[in-house]
């Protein structure tokens, strides 16, 4: 009886030990994945900052005005050629 119990317990013990090893292995992988994602997040943050910067640089009023004037031949509107639409007015 006691011999059988010992066999069961030993098997259980070995099983537990192996599962600990396995769990550790899994953990290492997950931690590694987490780190990868964290560094990806950092990189995306940097990209986002870069894009915001580009937006601001490219959307600079100075640049838009210059392009509008030289490339698109636009002119600022003047009140002389503006029609104001008023409610109730003819």
């Amino acid at each position: 009886m006691s011999g059988k119990l010992n066999v069961v317990l030993t098997t259980l013990l070995v099983g537990c030990a192996l599962s600990v090893v396995n769990a550790r292995y899994q953990r290492n992988h997950l931690v590694n994945d987490l780190e990868k994602l964290a560094s990806q997040q950092r990189q995306l943050d940097i990209d986002w900052a870069q894009l915001q910067l580009d937006q601001s640089t490219l959307g600079k009023n100075e640049r838009i005005e210059q392009i509008a004037r030289t490339e698109l031949n636009m002119a600022p509107l003047s009140p002389a050629r503006t029609q104001y639409l008023m409610e109730g007015a003819r």
Binding site: A49, S56, E62
Partner: protein, 589 residues
């Protein structure tokens, strides 16, 4: 045979069997084996004790040694907060870059063509590079804040002894347009000017570190714990509006060039929230390239420079007298035709105006008129008024270097001081203080604190004059901009505008100069429901015109017209043709 057989196993000489040999019968003393046993036991006990000691009692040393073989301390970088304008446009942002440095010993064997290529990538003369590499020190910085795409090319050169370290560089996409509002940081990422300096604490990040376990391939497999939590800097949302700022900046720049002035400045304030929407200076500088920076470029004339505004201050004395019930807009004053003597000093008007009412005193900017009104007030009353609207008071804008201006204590005012201050002499302030004070006319007589950051809550005002007086003053300052006033050039097609001109003689070597002037204009638009208070200052215009009405008023008109359009403010006037008299009235000072 038997004896012979047994005899072969017996020592021949003694005839004794081996097992019975007397040599074997010699017994060692008992204590010797015990001693050996004890010594062995003691040695094992010592080993066990030592093992217990290093593993259980004093285990730190070994643990440290062990940890150092697989644990690493990882630095966790923190970025400086970004700065945005009120519409979420980035004004300042930090990106990772690298510094390039070299171990001078290790780099010696590098072929010269590689060094030439390195010098080209670092944008420095080859001679400079070689000089740096030939230095006595073992480690030298070659260039800091090198952008990542350049670093990638440098890495490809594969030069021994070259070292790159991560750092941050601050970028200012709006450049010179916004720099007097935003400021800049130095190479260590510490704010040096304007909001970067004022908000240094909030913007700066706090780098941290943590302990990790790395495996053979350098992958992190366990996060042991944080040593110091990293904190990124807080983002800052300014009150400034990129569009209005650009408009203000261009108006000032164009005006300085057109009127051959030394400098110019303008500020736009939101009447409802007290937010500074635009703050422009010329000359200026590019914060991304500060190699040849001069003090003139750095000066923020809106905030740190004080000047005597001149007639722009007249409405304050007049409003005070009206608020106290001493005069009405229709009260008549005889401004005469000759200089008016007060305290032994003559007060002059550029044109004789004769008998005119208070509205006309403001419209025509009569010095004698405001002098007579100031005589009805006590010095203390005037001083209180100036102090309450912030003149001579240390400003609390949260902006570095903000000037307080100067208002002398009323007890030391000479007799002529009241007259002088009524038309803005002998009292100095910054353009921002002037614009701030003008809020009392644009609002219903109360003043609210200014803010350089986006305001989310309705500010609480402090009542200075009654709403009725403020309304009356608005009518008066609107007439200034009309054809009969001193600033017809401040008219804006489609909108009603109001304001007051000022032309101050500059104080040079303690005396009022007759040739150097500061032309300024403070006003509000649109008059039906004021939205912006705008103040413009043109310093030392050397062209044919130099007065506030001549240089600052047209600048105000351009600025205001574009600002109103950009802010989608509906027109409140059907007048689209501006009438500017051929010889507009000049103001007295």
């Amino acid at each position: 045979m038997k004896a012979g057989a047994s005899g072969s196993r017996v020592a021949a000489a003694k005839g004794v069997a081996f097992t019975k040999s007397p040599v074997l019968a010699v017994r060692l003393p008992d204590w010797r084996s015990r001693v050996v046993l004890f010594v062995l036991f003691a040695a094992f006990a010592a080993l066990a004790g030592r093992a217990l000691w290093v593993q259980a009692m004093d285990n730190q040393f070994l643990q440290k040694k062990g940890a150092s073989r697989y644990m690493r301390t990882e630095e966790l970088a923190a970025t400086r907060g970004k700065i945005f304008d009120r519409n979420g446009m980035v004004l300042a942002s930090s990106l990772p870059v690298k510094s390039v440095s070299a171990f001078t010993e290790d780099i010696k064997g590098t072929p010269p063509e590689k060094l030439r290529e390195l010098a080209r990538l670092l944008e420095m003369p080859e001679a400079d590079l070689l000089k740096k590499l030939g230095s006595d020190r073992s480690y030298v910085y070659l260039k800091r804040q090198v952008e990542m795409d350049v670093i990638a090319k440098i890495d490809k050169l594969d030069i021994d002894g070259l070292d790159t370290r991560k750092e941050y560089k601050r970028f200012y996409p709006q450049g010179e347009v916004m720099t007097h509002m935003v400021g800049f940081t130095n190479v260590e990422d510490v704010g040096q000017e304007a909001m970067e300096l004022a908000q240094q604490k909030a913007l700066a990040g706090q780098p941290g570190s943590r302990r990790v376990i790395k495996d053979r391939l350098g992958r992190i497999v366990e996060d042991v714990g944080m040593q110091r939590e990293p904190h990124d800097g807080k983002d800052l949302h300014l009150s400034v509006d990129s569009k209005l700022q650009y408009i203000a900046f261009n108006s000032v720049k164009d005006a300085v060039e057109k009127f051959h002035a030394k400098a110019g400045a303008a500020v736009v304030i939101d009447v409802h929230t007290g937010e500074v929407l635009a703050l422009a200076n010329w000359p200026t500088y590019d914060p991304n390239n500060r190699a040849h920076l001069t003090g003139e470029q750095l000066r923020n004339r809106v905030i740190t420079d004080t000047f005597e505004p001149g007639s722009t201050l007249k409405p304050f004395t007049v409003a005070l007298a009206m608020d106290k019930g001493l005069i009405k807009p229709t009260t008549l004053f005889d401004t005469g035709t000759r200089p008016y003597m007060t305290g032994g000093h003559p007060i002059r008007d550029t044109h004789p105006h004769g008998v005119i009412d208070v509205s006309t005193i403001i419209q025509k900017s009569s010095n004698i008129g405001t002098t007579k009104i100031s005589e009805m007030l006590t010095a203390q009353e005037m001083w209180q008024m100036f102090t309450k609207v912030g003149f001579g008071q240390a400003p609390r804008y949260g902006f570095p270097g903000a000037a307080a201006g100067r208002v002398r204590p009323y007890k030391s005012w000479p007799i002529v001081a009241k007259a002088n201050m009524s038309f803005g002499q002998g009292i100095s302030m910054s353009l921002l203080q002037l614009a701030h004070a003008w809020l009392i006319f644009a609002r219903d007589g109360d003043i609210i604190p200014l803010s350089f950051q986006k305001v989310t809550e309705k500010p609480v005002g402090q009542q200075i004059i009654s709403p009725k007086t403020a309304a009356q003053m608005r009518t008066m300052v609107e007439s200034v901009v009309g054809p009969g006033g001193t600033a017809p050039q401040a008219q804006i097609a489609g909108y009603r505008a109001g304001g007051k001109t000022g032309t101050a003689q500059k104080v040079i070597d303690g005396r009022y100069s007759q040739t150097h002037y500061v032309g300024n204009f403070a006003g509000m638009v649109p008059m039906s429901n004021p939205r912006f208070v705008i103040a413009v200052m043109i310093d030392d215009a050397s062209g044919p015109v130099h007065t506030g009405g001549g240089v600052a008023a047209p600048t105000f008109a351009v600025l205001a017209a574009n600002a109103l359009r950009a802010a989608n403010v509906p027109p409140d006037s059907t007048v689209t043709d501006i009438i500017i008299p051929e010889h507009p009235l000049e103001e007295s000072n």
